[in-house]
């Protein structure tokens, strides 16, 4: 389900946005408009939708318009043109009163600079959104305490923001965002001001929170590692335009242009791609039935020019691997059950495991490694060949760009 949908969104900063809009319509880009009119194109015709419950990362270099874009979602910045929908409600059509109610109810925001109120203590800061919504005091305290506990700051309620470290301040910022229990959390470079170790810790924290309670998170970042780590999908922006939207794997495997490719230079694909991304259903599968499947298996395998066959049950869950040799042996021994032909010590890997994680298993077994999804269903195999070729191809894509 689309949680947020934006349609042809534009933002021009300057006295006469109409002129700049005309130029954009003629196909000029941000740079050309800037030179001709001295107006800045913040966002240029952005359209995409964000699914409920996903972490959607908007990535780009500074000045690419990502912060402007996220601020148009709650109209901290008024769009020059275009529409924003949340739950099929048109945010861009709301009057000021509706907008205030919408901001209190649906969306909260976490800022790069933390933006905590220095005159309020940690508890009051966490309760700030509820205070604005005129919630009663007892409820404010209760919700704020819960949120502080969620981010691991129980016991710090009476401290003041300047007394806390950066990481802790941002935890307060996060608690403030969570306390109002929003469907949507906007995070504007929320972790960029933190040092790398704390940043990773906060990313994990966010993923944990997301596990407990699926919110729709729009996360702005200029850090690729961060985007890959937490993003379910990523939108890449350049010069106010959305260049590409997709899962990290899709973007890594098929970068839309050199700008996108440049982002991925220096990324190890084996960290990003998972077993599920490179799986191929290229080996014969044999459904195990109650009787007589030993001979049927032999037939299927010998007709397939493959050495290994993958045995599934009726629910297509992985059971074991047979080879032409073990099948022959079992037939010779007049074995009754297909189990007798199973190779020892075969194990399936989870589709979500990274290439890095499955490497030892792929390397140490002569047969291609079976891959299953979270419910144990067979998705295909990863062979040594396939593994190496994937590494090689992404390598080439990156080097090809670097040499230009």
């Amino acid at each position: 389900m689309d949680k947020i949908r934006i349609e042809n969104l534009y933002k021009i900063f300057g006295p006469k946005p109409g002129n700049a809009m005309k130029m954009l319509a003629q196909g000029l880009d941000k740079k050309a408009v800037q030179e001709k009119t001295d107006m800045t194109v913040g966002v240029d015709n952005a359209s995409f939708s964000i699914q409920a419950g996903e972490i959607f990362v908007i990535m780009g270099l500074s000045g690419s318009g990502k912060s402007t874009l996220v601020r148009m979602l709650n109209r901290l910045i008024e769009p020059t043109a275009g529409k924003v929908f949340v739950d099929d409600q048109e945010v861009t059509a709301m009057n000021p009163k509706e907008l205030v109610a919408f901001r209190r109810r649906n969306m909260s925001m976490v800022f790069q600079s933390f933006a905590l109120m220095p005159h309020l203590n940690v508890l009051e800061n966490a309760a700030f959104g509820l205070e604005l919504a005129n919630a009663d005091k007892a409820k404010q305290t209760e919700r704020a305490m819960e949120a502080l506990e969620q981010v691991g700051l129980a016991g710090w309620e009476n401290s003041y923001p300047p007394q806390l470290s950066g990481g802790m301040q941002q935890r307060v910022g996060l608690a403030r965002g969570l306390a109002v229990d929003p469907d949507i959390l906007l995070m504007d470079e929320a972790f960029s001001a933190l040092d790398p170790l704390i940043r990773t810790e906060m990313q994990d924290e966010l993923l944990n929170l997301q596990e407990e309670h699926q919110r729709t998170i729009v996360f702005i970042s200029h850090d690729l590692d961060e985007a890959l780590r937490i993003g379910d999908r990523i939108a890449i922006m350049e010069g106010g335009r959305i260049i590409q939207v997709g899962t990290p794997e899709e973007i890594l495997q098929n970068p839309a242009n050199d700008y996108v490719r440049a982002f991925f230079r220096g990324v190890d694909p084996s960290n990003v791609l998972s077993a599920g991304d490179i799986v191929r259903d290229s080996y014969p599968t044999i459904i195990r039935t109650k009787t007589g499947s030993l001979r049927a298996a032999h037939e299927i395998l010998s007709g397939s020019e493959r050495d290994y066959g993958y045995i599934l049950n009726a629910k297509r869950q992985f059971q074991g691997i047979v080879s032409s040799d073990t099948l022959n042996d079992a037939l010779d021994a007049e074995a009754k059950s297909l189990d007798m032909a199973f190779l020892p010590n075969t194990r399936a890997v989870d589709a979500s495991m990274s290439m890095q994680d499955i490497l030892p298993i792929v390397a140490s077994n002569p047969w291609p490694v079976p891959v299953v999804d979270e419910s144990g269903r067979y998705k295909g195999v990863v062979s040594k060949n396939r593994f190496l070729r994937t590494l090689h191809r992404t390598e080439k894509a990156r080097n090809g760009h670097a040499q230009k």
Binding site: V100, F111, A115, H119
Partner: protein, 275 residues
């Protein structure tokens, strides 16, 4: 070159003030009464209190907001004022300063907030404030006397004109200095304009506003002598009397009283602002 073509502004102003005095004096007399009410209440209140109570209140406030040193200083300076025979005058001056500062705050803080939130209003306000601060008091003393007659109330009015600008300017500055991210954060969480003002801008600007209040108090004190020229009582009157009769001693004693009050009020309000 200009001998033949002088714009008769002086004539116009005189005619305008005469017109106001002749036709609308009752309006100005009516405007007088809230100030008169406030001022007389404060004056009578302060003068009817036993000096010991006033000294104790000042000492306690000094001790609470600053420390034992300021408390000792306030006791010593107020006892000295009493011993110089200036107690009643100093209470009258305190009442006038308080009355002007209360009115300046009531007018100045809202004006400053408007100026802080609107560039237009600030631009319109600035020349008015400049004029209020730089026009010599003697220029507006005469029309004030003509419209409001002589006395303490006229003195307070002249004081307000001179002492209002700092609190307006510093309130505006304080509001403008609030980090835009804080305002943005409040808006993102659904703050109305009024909530942004009350829950973010005013609390954040408070130290600066208090610095403005401190400046307003000091400027109000500096008007004490000028106010005495149009018949206001208080510590200015011995100075003016001394000037008129060449009584150097009397003038110095009055001046000493003003200086002591000024130091005391300055230190006290500064330490309040720091808390």
């Amino acid at each position: 070159m200009f001998e033949e073509s002088v714009i008769p502004v002086d004539v116009w102003v005189s005619q305008f003030v005469d017109m106001l005095v002749d036709n609308h004096r009752d309006i100005f007399q009516a405007m007088k009464w809230p100030i008169e009410y406030l001022l007389n209440g404060l004056d009578m209140g302060l003068n009817s209190l036993h000096p010991f109570i006033v000294i104790a209140v000042f000492a306690l406030a000094a001790w609470k907001f600053s420390g034992i040193r300021l408390a000792v200083f306030s006791v010593a300076s107020m006892v000295l004022v009493g011993l110089l025979g200036l107690w009643e005058d100093s209470m009258t001056t305190l009442a006038m300063v308080l009355a002007s500062v209360i009115i300046c705050t009531l007018m100045g803080v809202p004006l400053g907030i408007l100026a802080g939130r609107s560039d237009r209003f600030e631009a319109g306000m600035r020349p008015v404030l400049d004029a209020m601060q730089t026009t010599p008091a003697f220029v507006y003393l005469v029309p004030i006397v003509m419209l409001f007659s002589v006395g303490n109330v006229a003195g307070v009015l002249a004081t307000i004109i001179f002492a209002l600008p700092p609190i307006v300017r510093l309130t505006s500055l304080g509001i403008r200095q609030v980090h835009p991210e804080l305002v943005e954060a409040a808006q993102a969480f659904g703050a109305t304009n009024w909530q942004v003002l009350r829950k973010v801008q005013i609390p954040q600007a408070l130290p600066t506003i208090l610095a403005g209040l401190n400046q307003t108090i000091m400027m109000a004190l500096s008007m004490v002598v000028i106010a005495a020229l149009i018949g206001a009582g208080g510590l200015g009157s011995p100075v003016v009397r001394g000037l008129n009769t060449l009584d150097i001693g009397g003038a110095v004693v009055g001046g000493l009283g003003i200086v002591l009050m000024a130091i005391l009020l300055d230190r006290l309000t500064q330490s309040m602002a720091r808390k």
